[in-house]
Symmetry: C2
């Protein structure tokens, strides 16, 4: 299956030219190649990435997260339209490692962004599918480079605030935006611990109608709370603001703050330092994922693990001992074969 | 060097018996074996751990962190003495991967805990030394098991709140306590992002004399801030309290809250679930560290990395491509040798 070579592929040069000219159809087809697991496509993807690399990077990359129900799609639609009105070209990507299982990613249902998806200056791409978060994140990050080479100067990368994918998104963006609701129960707010401290900005969404006063109270509460957080390496103090995506209120403030952030981090050179760090980490994360895969992908290893877990829980064997036993087995099979 | 066999070693059974009888001298010597990198000691360590394993676990494990200057040693001395007054036996360990370089770990200077170190019911052990956080943490976690087997029912594990070691301590304890100061500048508070969200309890230390009112204000501020954090899997809402270690004020409240926590997590079974999860993670963390070591420990790999980093930063090569190139090299040297 992996050696099958699809007939409808263009040459690498065709994809590169098309992407650099901002051709949306070619861009989509190039991303499909990036996402593909076929061996022949991987060779093509490598050539495409290698050539567009010097043309990438010229954008502000914004991570957007928040639990289901917070109004992420509506916010992105309103914010994206605002940015386009200001003359920007906006690409919207998402990371959702669960999309394969749930048979539909966050952005899978493009109709939820009806206005935006019809606009020439917007490019919307649902989450890549894949078995591992690392794989999915890699594909999204490479797609991001392609979108930049195609001239999109604002990249929005969306994720759901309930899992590990936030760390991945945080690791590939310049600015991290967390959507919250005022007065929602703990269940609804159910974002993972640690995500709050990543936020450069918290937007209290659905601040309209009867909800305005409550949202303002929540804004003050969050702002006070964020003040006691340890300072960011960027030198930026996180801001809290309110917005109504359905009423198109507050989009200007969100963008204004992001622009202030950009000024600050350009000046103190955190922007470049951070981007370089992210690129280096990207290599190491990929290596670490792959060497783990070499180990856990081995059948003789994976068969042993559940048994060892049981023995650890019943205190028959120490965790370190269990690790050493299985590593011994790994070294014997791999190194002496 | 590694094959050198020290002459002053006892038999495994001697160590096991001594530890189970609560003999502090034997306990210390057993921990020295756990910490040793000699091959002969590793065999001995394995036998000791294997036998004391069923006798371990019967304690509450408390992680304590806070930046230098917050008064950690003084707090631990006051809190330890309070616990001993209540009839407990207290073991104090620490994790400080930097101890080797700085030629002295947090607890290296035992004289800072003069009273406590003289007490029969207290056992104080400075941080193990080692090159990697994983290695140091493993040794501390195994020492903890030995202390439990020796009858210490409260284990305090100290670390400095400025690095990665907090995650390691959080991963091996039941309760995580963060020491802070009222009105300290950002520099002094300089704990790492993410640590705040791990805390089950924040103690505003040095709440005495002129500092009392300010500490009370800080307490309210932190308490309000922690309320908006996502809820813990334990079902516990983090508490903030004030204390004066030099005046022995507030130690009862700290212990009362930890006891409440213990009741809660025993009832909702989080205690056991969490301990089992920690044990399983311990195995996986050890495996993952070791397979990384297999890769990065290879000279032909480590020599290439700085060059690749440079090429990535100058956009000559994509991070994923760089990772794939070096993984190819690794597979060729390891698998086909």
């Amino acid at each position: 299956m992996k050696n099958y070579k699809p007939k409808n592929r263009l040459s690498a040069q065709n994809y590169i030219d098309g992407v650099l000219q901002g051709d949306r159809v070619i861009l989509s087809r190039a991303i499909t190649i990036i996402e593909s697991n076929l061996e022949s496509d991987k060779v093509l993807a490598k050539a495409i990435i290698q050539h567009i690399l010097p043309h990438s990077g010229k954008s502000i990359r914004i991570g957007i997260t928040g639990v289901p129900g917070v109004g992420k799609s509506t916010f992105i639609e309103a914010f994206g339209k605002y940015l386009i009105d200001q003359g920007h070209r906006v690409a919207i990507l998402s990371i959702d490692p669960s999309s394969q299982r749930s048979k539909g990613s966050i952005l899978g249902d493009k109709t939820r962004m009806e206005d935006l998806s019809g606009m020439e200056q917007a490019y919307i791409r649902p989450s890549a599918s894949g078995d591992t978060l690392g794989g999915v994140a890699n594909k999204t990050a490479e797609s991001m480079l392609l979108c930049e080479a195609a001239g999109y100067d604002v990249i929005l990368i969306e994720t759901v605030g309930v899992g590990q994918s936030e760390t991945a998104v945080h690791g590939m963006t310049d600015f991290f935006l967390l959507l919250m609701l005022a007065g929602a129960g703990d269940e609804l707010q159910g974002i993972k611990k640690g995500i709050m401290e990543m936020a450069d900005m918290v937007v209290i969404n659905k601040a309209d109608g009867d909800n305005i006063r409550q949202s303002e109270r929540a804004r003050i509460q969050y702002q006070n709370a964020l003040h006691i957080f340890p300072e960011s390496a960027s030198g930026w103090s996180p801001v809290v603001t309110t917005a109504s995506s359905t009423q198109n209120i507050g989009m200007d403030v969100v963008w204004e703050e992001i622009s202030k952030y950009k000024l600050l981090v350009n000046e103190n050179q955190y922007f470049e330092t951070n981007r370089n760090r992210q690129k280096i980490n990207w290599m190491y994360d990929t290596i670490n994922e792959e060497i783990k895969h070499l180990f856990y992908g081995s059948k003789s290893i994976s068969e042993q693990l559940p048994k060892l877990e049981q023995q650890i829980i019943s205190s028959e064997i120490s965790p370190v001992q269990a690790a050493q036993d299985i590593l011994e087995r790994f070294k014997n099979t791999v190194f002496h074969s």
